[in-house]
Amino acid sequence: MKAGSGRAGAALALGAACVLAYAAAVWISWPRALPRLLYDGYTPPPPYRWVKPPLSLLVHTTPPQPGNGTVPLTRSGSAPASVVTGDDQAAVVFPPGAIEPRAGDSAVEVRITPLDPGSLAPPPRGLRFDGNAYRIDAEYLPDRSPAVLRAPVSVVLRYPGEATTLLRLEGSRWQEVQTTRVPAGFQVFASTRQLGVYVAAGPPGSGGHLTLWLYRAVTVLLWAAAVLLAVLLVADYVRGGRRRRRA
């Protein structure tokens, strides 16, 4: 019994080490990547909600939803928080202490408003808008003055097509910002110290024919392997049954 308890203790200690390793990985990665508990999950997303649907989209689309949230302020800065639109199409992730604390203010209100990017400024040469633009505002409460960022926040936008970059509206022009693409979630995100208006964009047209061909070939191989294995297992089971009956 004592030996069994010792083995259980050792196994739990190894498990605790794995949990700590996971916590360390999260601690290191989340400020640099789009925070996810596990970078997994290939799920069909819901239809994209457009402010102004493209002409090719003849069906009526549901209007996009805005987002609103409050980030509590502490003496050391803001608490970690994510503010997301009601339809999950845009989000801002605030790591701990991202917003400068201010005497007399207890929180920061964050608003995300969907806009038609075409009505703001034309896209840069060689790019086209892929989805709605989103205005992100943050104000101290109750003061209502603009919030000051002292660390980068992550701006995350979902795109409906083939976006490769995020654009930020500066005056009357869109500027590209350093972007990370997350194709599994149809999302692009950027780490930035500036709020404002953002939109996802990508090159006109799409490629990836070789990848598609390769994917189809591998899928066929995979199913062939699974079917062959199933046939062999059934044949093996039948042979075993005959042998047992003979015996």
């Binding site: 069994g4 794995c18 508990l37 999950g41 069909p44 819901p46 995979l222 042979r239």
Partner: protein
Amino acid sequence: MLFRGRGAPGRGWAEESEAPVTSGRDRDLPGASPSVPPRDGERVCRGRPAADALLLGGAVSGFLALLLRPPAGAAAVPVLLGVGALGLLAPVPTIHRSQRVPWLWWGVVTLLGSGAFGGARLLHPPPPIPVAPQGILALILAAGAEEVFFRRFLYGWLAVRGAAPAVVGSAVLFAAVHLPAYGPAALPVDLAAGLLLGWQRWAAGTWTAPAATHALANLLQLR
């Protein structure tokens, strides 16, 4: 019978029971009963080259299919179903025989792994993944298919070399298949998560513990 033949002594393939079990290599695990003779009907293979080649081909094609699967969308579902079928059908190599582990211990292991993901979510809520209603089913399917492939089939295959190569190897391959979709920034989290899920496979003796944890982690990412 299939996967039965002559080969290196001590090398065997045994079908994994759905109940929590551990391979003989893992016999130092808590809750494991003392060694018992092979059960009647337990499938055992000793290194038949054709069977080895078939399983290696299955492992490679499953890995490539996951690596090249298209981003979020219905097109990924046939890949997940195929990988799941492969992972479930493939005989699992074990060096010795299986042993049962108490369900209470299974619960402790599952709870510890799930607690890590739940704790991370409490610490810093990540932005939710946009998911259609049918997508919830796809999230559970993805978790089940991946776990049955990585923590049943590949883990069992790698366990021939010992538990540590099986845990580390399956974690590395698990992290690698997510690279095209999420980029290198996701590597540390997926690698650490893979180690945690691999530890669960080793400690609980069954792929069902990491599968339950993986499904929960995926669902925790919803709003």
